[in-house]
């Protein structure tokens, strides 16, 4: 008897909607936009690593390219943020606890936990993924502008080849996270 009661309640719960939506819909603009961004950033960083030590390879000489890449990301972040209706990206409680332990409780404040997943919190996670890509771009800027130095006296701002290679491998992980989520939504 209990089994039938449970079955009935499941059916009643499922009957509330035609289809269940836990994640926001696939967004072609974000999907294509992040691929374009990846291509442009990859080409820029490769050029910089080859021009290290030359006037064309300094940070000041390529400031406009960074600003263009930044602006492209801002457009995508604004789009994802608009769909989040002011909600925050929430990580499933168990995963949140594991991240907190791994980061010795220095977990970013933008990453609260919660089980109340909605399409709005999912859109906020999309925005968060894009903000993380922007953080990576800022770090590459920082490396180029302030940290890496080339030339005989090591006074010229540059991206050294080894820096450029590792920075791009890491940044691709953040870019890939955006792409793989959009691809999964597309096939859902």
């Amino acid at each position: 008897m209990k089994r039938y009661a449970l079955l009935f309640s499941i059916l009643m719960a499922l009957s509330g909607c035609g289809t269940v939506r836990l994640v926001s819909d696939y967004d072609e603009v974000i999907d294509k936009g992040i691929i374009e961004f990846a291509e442009q950033l990859g080409a820029h960083v490769k050029n910089m690593s080859e021009l290290g030590g030359k006037p064309e390879g300094t940070y000041d000489a390529t400031l406009k390219t960074y600003n263009g890449l930044d602006a492209k990301l801002d457009v995508l972040i604004d789009r994802a943020s608009a769909a989040s209706e002011g909600k925050a990206c929430k990580i499933e409680a168990k995963i949140h606890q594991k991240i907190a332990a791994a980061l010795k409780n220095q977990i970013p404040a933008e990453l609260p936990q919660g089980a109340d997943a909605t399409t709005a919190t999912s859109a906020a996670c999309n925005a968060r993924l894009l903000v993380l890509v922007k953080d990576q771009l800022q770090s590459i800027r920082e490396l180029h502008r302030d940290v890496d130095k080339c030339g005989p006296a090591r006074t010229i701002s540059c991206l050294r080849p080894a820096t450029a290679r590792d920075a791009m491998v890491i940044t691709h992980q953040s870019i890939n996270a955006v792409s793989i989520v959009e691809m999964a939504k597309k096939s859902k």
Binding site: L14, A102, S139, V147, A162, T163, D166, V169, Q173, S174
Partner: protein
């Protein structure tokens, strides 16, 4: 039409298993591959800083290594947020597959509730 709980249970189990398996496979393939990349990358940072300390024309400085380490931490957050999203997509797929299979199999009898 007579509907038994066992019939419905079988349909739900089959639908959920098939749909969730596809989505879960995406998570279980993606996450370990990305964690492996992180391990390789962290080893590369240590190696390049070591090379620089022997010969400043090679590898990169400890200051660069520090920024790259911070970037790796950011990438780790990206992967974990993506895993959460992929899991939700898998759950959504499974729930919708269950609803569809129930509608297809018992549509007439359950017309009132589904």
């Amino acid at each position: 039409m007579t509907i038994s709980a066992d019939d419905i249970f079988d349909k739900i189990s089959d639908a959920a298993e098939g749909a969730f398996k596809d989505g879960w496979n995406a998570v279980s393939t993606y996450a370990p591959a990305e964690f492996r990349k992180m391990a390789v990358q962290l080893a590369s940072i240590v190696e390049n800083v070591g090379m620089y300390e022997v010969d400043p024309d090679k590898g990169y400085s400890p200051a660069t290594g520090k920024v790259l380490f911070r970037m790796q931490r950011t990438a780790c957050e990206s992967v974990l947020v993506a895993v959460t999203q992929l899991t939700l997509i898998a759950v959504q797929k499974a729930l919708n597959a269950i609803i569809k299979v129930l509608k297809d199999a018992f549509g007439a009898a359950l017309a009132g509730v589904l």
